[in-house]
Symmetry: D2
Subunit: 341 residues, 4 copies
């Protein structure tokens, strides 16, 4: 099959493009630039990909004619402007940006600081948390955010099974700089980032409502959570260190069973009691590794999850959703070589 990709030049877009080129069920990938007026050789903008092809001008009709689905790996706000023709025709879209993740217009407005456009069909988009949902039959998939993926996967077993006090959740999340994209900024200037640790958007990160929305599906008593984001002096990877108070009477067995039941049948999530994962062990892969431990003294549970923010946190999970949408093997195109060492 042929697939379209809008936005190959960003970090997630380039990674997604490479995954698609190696996907056993994809015949051809057509590239489009959402602000492109004329075809441009990919080598001019991304020579390191060494692919002789073109980024084509943006035209929804062409995209729909020449592909069976399209990925958007564009910046926040772009699909709000562009998605309508695809939605109207019911043409399959997987959107890596945040525009269609929130179901509530009020929440959207609060966190994105602008009103959701009337045509924004939030209700009918599918939030593609691939290890818990299936995109089969969906036409518009909103691929989860990187922090959201790491955090939700860490907390899911405890929230779903009502093992923790929902008001006690604290997430201390850390990310490498690739999460901030290609755009130059003071906080990602090498002399500033290197040998440093910088907090940003404390309690203000736009992934918070997305996390809360999902957790509330499982336990509506989950309130707004405490969420801290820290910029690491490394390029790739996220670690979400999560803390929550076990409900009275909850034992180590309860916690362990919840993780085992939740993840034993998944392809990409591994949870281990008492062994905390490192970022590096998942870089280059689509895995989410989780370590957890109930502290018998404080009765706090520590849950630490790690992902590669550009794979499981973006392009990799998008492929999982793609596989579900078209009924391919869950791991198709995702048997990746980890970065060693």
């Amino acid at each position: 099959m042929n697939v379209g990709l809008v936005g190959v030049t960003g970090y997630s877009g380039s990674v997604l493009y490479e995954l698609l080129l190696h996907h056993p069920n994809v015949d051809h990938v057509n590239l489009y630039g959402h602000a492109q007026k004329e075809a441009q050789a990919l080598e001019e903008v991304l020579p390191q990909l060494r692919r002789r092809t073109y980024i084509l001008p943006y035209n929804p009709a062409d995209i729909m004619e020449n592909n069976q689905m399209v990925f958007f790996a564009t910046s926040a706000g772009v699909t709000t402007e562009l998605a309508q023709p695809f939605i109207e025709k019911g043409f399959p879209v997987i959107d890596l940006a945040g525009d269609f993740r929130l179901k509530s217009r009020d929440v959207y407005q609060k966190w994105y600081k602008k009103e959701a456009p009337d045509f924004l069909d939030l209700k009918n988009s599918h939030y593609g948390l691939a290890d818990f949902t299936s995109a089969k039959g969906a036409t518009y998939v909103a691929n989860p955010g990187c922090y959201a993926t790491a955090t939700i996967l860490a907390l899911a077993p405890l929230v779903k099974n009502h093992l923790i006090d929902p008001a006690s959740i604290i997430v201390d999340a850390k990310s490498g700089t690739s999460g901030a994209g290609k755009k130059l900024s003071e906080s990602t200037h090498f002399s500033q980032t290197n040998e440093n640790l910088q907090l940003y958007k404390v309690n203000q990160h736009q992934h918070i409502p997305e996390i809360v929305q999902q957790l509330q599906k499982w336990d509506e008593e989950v309130p707004y959570i405490q969420f801290t984001t820290t910029l690491l002096p490394l390029t790739r990877g996220i670690m979400a260190s999560c803390y929550a108070k076990a409900k009275s009477g909850i034992t180590e067995d309860d916690v362990r069973n919840a993780f085992i039941q939740t993840y034993s049948d998944t392809t990409f999530v591994n949870a281990t009691e008492g062994v905390f994962p490192t970022i590096k062990q998942v870089v280059g892969t689509n895995f989410c590794d989780i370590g957890y431990q109930l502290n018998p003294v404080t009765h706090q549970i520590v849950i630490v999850s790690v992902i590669d923010n550009l794979l499981k946190g973006a392009a990799g999970q998008a492929i999982q959703n793609f596989n579900q949408m078209f009924d391919y093997e869950p791991g198709a195109g995702l048997d990746l070589i980890p970065v060693l060492p």
Copy 2:
């Protein structure tokens, strides 16, 4: 005055030596190696210091005869073996290791996994948390640990003023590799540490009882806290991200006032509401910078403190204690040039 220094070859020891050489009230520093049998030229072991002097063989009588006080910057367990003659004579000691920090023999045994020797005079050592205590008149100063310093300074205003639920304290602490010292290990092998984040000693770090001991002095209801330590891919600096639930009715004003009252007269601690510090802004200095914020939605307070683990977390605080002990200016020898950039 002349001072002795045992253990110049470790990271804290070399930094302390340089501070002492630049201290306006120190005339001469005599170096000793606790396992040294013969004098050894310093240049052989630490050529980058460019100092033409010798590390002298260890001899307590000589040390006491030729100096007015002595610093120990030795590994854990060494002063347990060596301190007795100095204690017996009441000779002033500032000990950068953890051996004399805990007051309770039971706690010592639990965390250091061995019985405290009979002669270990834990009760009479002075825990030199320099921004809260004075070492004036003390003869044996136990200099606080690096994680302990960052954490206690972050939590002190809230604990002392009983503003938080003491059972809700969670500390997500991160440290650069210099905290692990010169000793080679797999987790500090460059190919392993670089581009990585590694947890270690979760809820097991030996600084935990030291933190709890101090917090309980201020509020005896503080239980064992949740404490996570993460190894960062950078050399110098600690960030302690602390979380605690505000007691019912506590307002932003209460929190702000507590920080202002606690730290407005200190030389080296700066606390700012709503502005979170970066590690780099304190590297090369003796400052502890703190940012704090009460989240009105979750009623959690986030407090983030940063220090240079080898200065405020070790050698710098030792100089503060030295200044108190001998009645020098609080900031003497500590007007340091920050690492820019």
Copy 3:
């Protein structure tokens, strides 16, 4: 086909194992530990590979019975001890270590500081510089060293075409820490490596005779070259910055033509005039990218080559040799996803 791999636990070995698992012509990979007495679960030593298999005890007869060829990714000196039974039977070996690279026993003795064993059949090993030779028909392939690969590929067009004064060659090579392997050492201790640049083995690196041996095949007037090795604060990648004086009368056209003729038909070497490559553009791939420029003022030619030391400099080139040996496509198993970003 089934292949054996001795030495999966080293950095090159793990990378090679992953490449083989993804190789379209390999059915099964059997792992062996050269010092292994009993089978050991791979997950115990390399959990991040997530492969449920065993490292089998070392037994040459078993290896030859159960595989059609064997790779050695063992430390220097190991194949000197182990290779004989395979050589005697003419069983195909690809050896990633340096033991069989040098043809002269005198040179071997000089650089490896020990006499080459009598049975060491140096003459009949095939030096597998894969872009210039074919391993078809060879039974014992000595896979080139990482520095040697980067340097020889940079200099080949100029040496083969006699465009430079052979006595003027200077190589300023730099490598990431993965080249030094897993073994702990002071120079790869994070606090020492980070924010640092360290020279080592200046004019003494064991890849020098290997480089000279190959260059002399093309121009016997090439003398011992000037070769500097510098340890970079990064994990993966080599850059070889090479300098040589153009012979009198040599023009930019001559230089350009030499590079074009040499590399236009290769799969993995790209040379561009006036554009110098970065290390990152080849990390995760088997490519060697080269930039070159004749300085018309100094008449020096600068040639800069970059490779991923564990791929093109080790496991990737080994796969090239494997493909040649068994007549597979030159790029089989090497269509890798680059590390982006």
Copy 4:
């Protein structure tokens, strides 16, 4: 005495400001912003300096009235515009920028790509290579560039004593990112710089003519040299790896004697035969450490020098010139604490 400083906000400027505040002969430092219209609190732009003072509006008359000399730590081109009033009055200036370093208008035009203004009094500026010259009596000091300092100090003993073939000089220089300043750029975006090595301005760096101008003072046969600059994934430090062919008959003794004679009386330059320095050993100090070795096989001499680019390569050498200008101790204000580790 009072000194003025124009340009505190850049990296060199902030470091210079801190040095001046710690200098025993400086009473007060007045800060000026060359584009400043109104006084601005320093804490607003450089909070990490923790200094309560103001950056004053730029006014040459005020500067000359309130100070005994002025430093310019401004970007390239700024002093070309601003220096005239000070030169006319013979008011002492130390200029850290490149504007007045070149003596020849032709060379200036070629490398800076614009004509030197008529008023640019290149002839009368003093090129302050502090270990070889004295700024005593000079009124306008052009402080050398960072690459120029490292390179000239490495080559000086050999060039002055005519021990090498001047046409054979090759410099492979590497710098941390702080040399590129605060300005954002793609090559210093963390995700691009990190885990990478990038060449830039090969044979085009504006420090080349400055190096050649100085070397030609010592040996007019020195032609334009081969000069490569590489951006390192670290913040501070320069390493210049220099290569040159020894003239026929030159021995190791000749080389050693040249280095000993040249540097044995200097305060800040240390040269050692056969031991190559690391960048880290000079970071935080004003030292230039040099290692050198004559390769008896190739008859090439390798000379490797390291400096802290912001100290010896900028602000530190400016202090050396300041000390010479006002007859202070050569090392006044420069007994710095190295960055350990």
